[in-house]
Amino acid sequence: MSERTTRLRGSFWLRAAAFVLAWISGVTLCMGAGGLFYLADSFRYNGAFLDSPTYYSMRHDMDSLLEEYLFLSSHSGALTPAGRERLGQLMDRFRRQETNYRFLILDERGERYLYNAGEEEWEAGIENGQETASSSDWQVSAYGISAQRNIGYYLDLSRTEDWTACLGSSQDFARTEFASGYCYNIGDYLDMLEEAALGELEGLDRETAAGMPAVMDTSENSPATQQVGRESDSVEEPVDETETIVVDGAVGEETDWLLTLFPQVHYDSITQQYYLLDEERESYEALGDNHFVYYRFDPDREESYHLWSWLDTDFPVEDQFASNARYYAVRQAEAREWIQPVIICALSSLAVFLPLLALLTWGAGWNRKGELALRGLNRMGLELLCLVLLVGVGLLLLGVQLADWLYDGPFFLGSQAPAIYEYLLFFGIAGLVCVPFCLMAWTVLTAQIKTRQLLKRSFCIRLCLRAWKGITGLLSRLLAVLKELVQNRPLYQKVLLWSAGYMVLMLFWYLGIARDIVLNSWNPLVRSFMVLLPAVPVVLLLCKWAMDYNRMRRQVQRLIEGDFDTKLETGRMLPDLRSHGEDLNNLSAGLSRAVEERVKSQRFKTELITNVSHDLKTPLTSIINYVDLLKKADIADETVRGYIEVLDRKSQRLKTLTEDLLEASKAASGTIGVQLEALDVTELCEQAVGEYDERLKQAALSVHIKRPEQPLKVMADGRHLWRILDNLLANCTKYAMAGTRVYLDISRKGKMAVLEMKNISAEALNVPADELMKRFVRGDSARSTEGSGLGLSIARNLTNAQKGEFGLVVDGDLFKAVISLPLAEERE
């Protein structure tokens, strides 16, 4: 968008100019609308007065009057003075011929009554249908009625020899010539009449009409089939009433109320109409559903009337009907002239107004710099805008009043002026007043919508939003407080609170809703249901709690068994149990980590020991090998051989030490594998002693084994136990006094098997027992013999590893080692 356009868009003057022009064109548009209204009004009823509501209401007034008269007159015994007066007024009007309104009154006998203005009475009407009721001013002489078209005709002999159609309802009033013709039945006859009324037949003179039979015999057995027409022979034959009348059903049947009340009513099965027969048979009247007949039936007097009313559209009398009709006609003619100008005006105004409106809309909200900003009036809130509009509407009403005053008052344009002026004035003033307000409202609205500030500017909406936010904020705070209050309490408090709340609810339940049902219901199922219903949630809750608790117990059992990997699903547990479950999961995670650490460290230790031992043993091997080679070498020098001897001894010692050290460290670090199985202790001791047989003989020691009464089985690792005995026996061979006995006692003490080995020490044991067990401590403090000092320590560790106990007792020269091991369980 170019800068020029931007500036233009934001230009105030442009908008002001557009505003003014829009105002003017708006006014003209309104006037055009007014004109359109006028046209619409004028042409609404095709311009016919007889279609207009005015006519209907006027007619209805007259009809009601007559009806009332009929009623009154048939109840003349009950005529009050007021009633009489009204009747008088009514008759005056008719007498004075102040109306174009015509009517006929028929009594039950089919006699027509016309009002005798002179005698002020009703007289029996036309006889023979042809005579003029001379005493009346009514130009009615004879009449006929077309059944199909519901048109009544009367023959106006006083004026011309023609039939004049008159209508009992609201059709057109037309005068036409009656033509001659013939017909075969009443229906045709009627048609002919009608056509004559419409000018399609040639004239039918009086005589012919007079010669026409009133009814036709349509039954097969009738003596004559009458032909209505110029063949006067058959026509002139008198038709017996009784012979030629066709009645639906039996004569005098009471199936039809009309027949009982009107003996002269006849039915023509061809036209399917009821006819009221004149005694002279010269005229007939069709009775149908759709003619306006006011029928009054008075059971007391057995008199009923039919009222036919119509309007003389010639308007011989200058009455309201005539003036109205004239007015309508004039208006229509007027309106027709105005159609074109109005349409042109309206369309052209529209053509001008719409673009201006578009321009205003386009420019709304923009300023010169091309930004959307709300200035001045545009910042009005929605409410203010509505207020402004209300002012506009109020001014509009004022304007209408003004227009009204103008029209009727000082600038009286009079009723002679074309009606359109009124409309134009009203709408014009309305537009003048209303349009600017609407335009302003429109621009403000569009500006606000463009800047999306519509809702913000509206005071009410902002208030509502603020209130809403306030409420929701308050609610959420309340909720948070409640939550804290409830959640962080210890379990028993929570349970108490909930129970209290639930009990209150139950109270409401039992004293309120359920009470009526329980007391009043006869169905025991329903009663028990209402009573038990509050218990259901409690039961469900308990079940859920029990299930969760069970799951946690199982999880704990899994932990005991060592399965640290399966986690507990805590998502769907109750709150307190859930935190417990999560703690359990954390615990199991921690345990599994600890186990892993332990395993790693064990592995590390084992590897360490293995590597160290390998690193120690490799050079040691070489030393021993080469020393051996040296020994084999041919060396004469004795001192050198002595040195080699020393090397040999020491390297052997080093070897022993290394092996013992390795074992001791393994035993101490707990990296030995222990495989417990049920062993016979006695057997093992014997095997061990057997192994040491030679050495014991060499050391001049004899072993005495004291066996238990029954063979004892211990849970031990065979290799380790052998090693223990190996150490002990080795100690015996090294330190026991030659020639003495070694006692090995095997016995049972409670759940343990006890092995005691006793011997006499060769040298004095000047080291206390517990010291002896320490590593590298030897009984011979001079350290002159072979032992490494680790033997007992190893023995103790091995015993402990097998879940046994190792003890030493030193008593003078007596050295006693006590080993206890758990018994293997008896299995039958």
């Binding site: 091997t621 070489s622 062993l679 057997e683 014997e686 095997q687 084994i705 065979g718 136990l721 052998w722």
Partner: protein, 228 residues
């Protein structure tokens, strides 16, 4: 002349072993790691291998596995590892024997001799019934003759019977009571360790290293068995 390959990453050990072996009359091939051992075996196969276990690049066990795919020569592990697990693993892989470090050279030579004898002689002997064979020990029940690596051994009748009992089902553990009753035909009173003593004597006669028997083993607390 038998060819023996010695595999060890420690050169001093290799040197010492070479001296021992050459003085005993064997031809020696040296290798310093498993890969080299495999390669040398393919070039010029030896009659026996002394294999160290812990070596760089390829350890003894892997080398044994590869060599075993193609050759059946006796393999003896020289190992500082003396854990039972390691021993079983080594024997499962295909070694015939193991020697722990530090070793006695005499023992090494004795074992070599034994394995060589078995290896060379085994193929030629026809299979006969009533001959129980476990490892180097062969017992002919008809002639009541026992040989270890072909060398006859003198056993007392009791020793013989014990050995026969144990060799009749190699791997089966016999308690002292069972051995006593079977051999002495007397109920075992449990007051003597005769059986243990006899076992010991037996072991000294048929085992290279009686202190660490390979075949006549003690199952502590349960009895004795002949290892397969």
């Amino acid at each position: 002349m038998n060819r023996i390959m010695i595999v060890d990453d420690d050169r001093d050990i290799l040197a010492a072993l070479e001296i021992y072996l050459t003085t005993s009359g064997y031809q020696v091939i040296r290798a310093e790691n498993g890969r080299e051992a495999v390669r040398r075996m393919e070039e010029e196969p030896a009659d026996l291998i002394l294999m160290d276990v812990m070596m760089p690049q390829m350890d003894g066990i892997a080398a044994t596995r590869i060599i075993r795919e193609k050759s059946n020569v006796p393999i003896l592990f020289l190992t500082a590892k003396s854990e039972d697990v390691d021993l079983i693993h080594g024997l499962n892989v295909g070694a015939d024997d193991y020697i722990t470090k530090p070793f006695k050279p005499m023992e090494v030579l004795a074992r070599i001799r034994s394995h060589l004898r078995r290896f060379t002689q085994l193929g030629g002997q026809p299979r006969r019934d009533n001959v129980l064979t476990v490892g180097p020990v062969q017992l002919e029940d008809e002639s009541k003759r026992v040989t270890v690596d072909g060398e006859p051994v003198n056993l007392t009748p009791l020793e013989y019977n014990i050995l026969r009992l144990l060799m009749s089902r190699p791997g089966q553990v016999y308690s002292s009571a069972q051995i006593y009753e079977q051999v002495w035909n007397d109920p075992f009173l449990g007051s003597e360790n005769t059986v243990a003593v006899h076992i010991r004597h037996l072991r000294e006669k048929i085992e290279i290293d009686p202190a660490h028997p390979r075949y006549l083993k003690v199952v502590w607390g349960l009895g004795y068995k002949m290892e397969q």
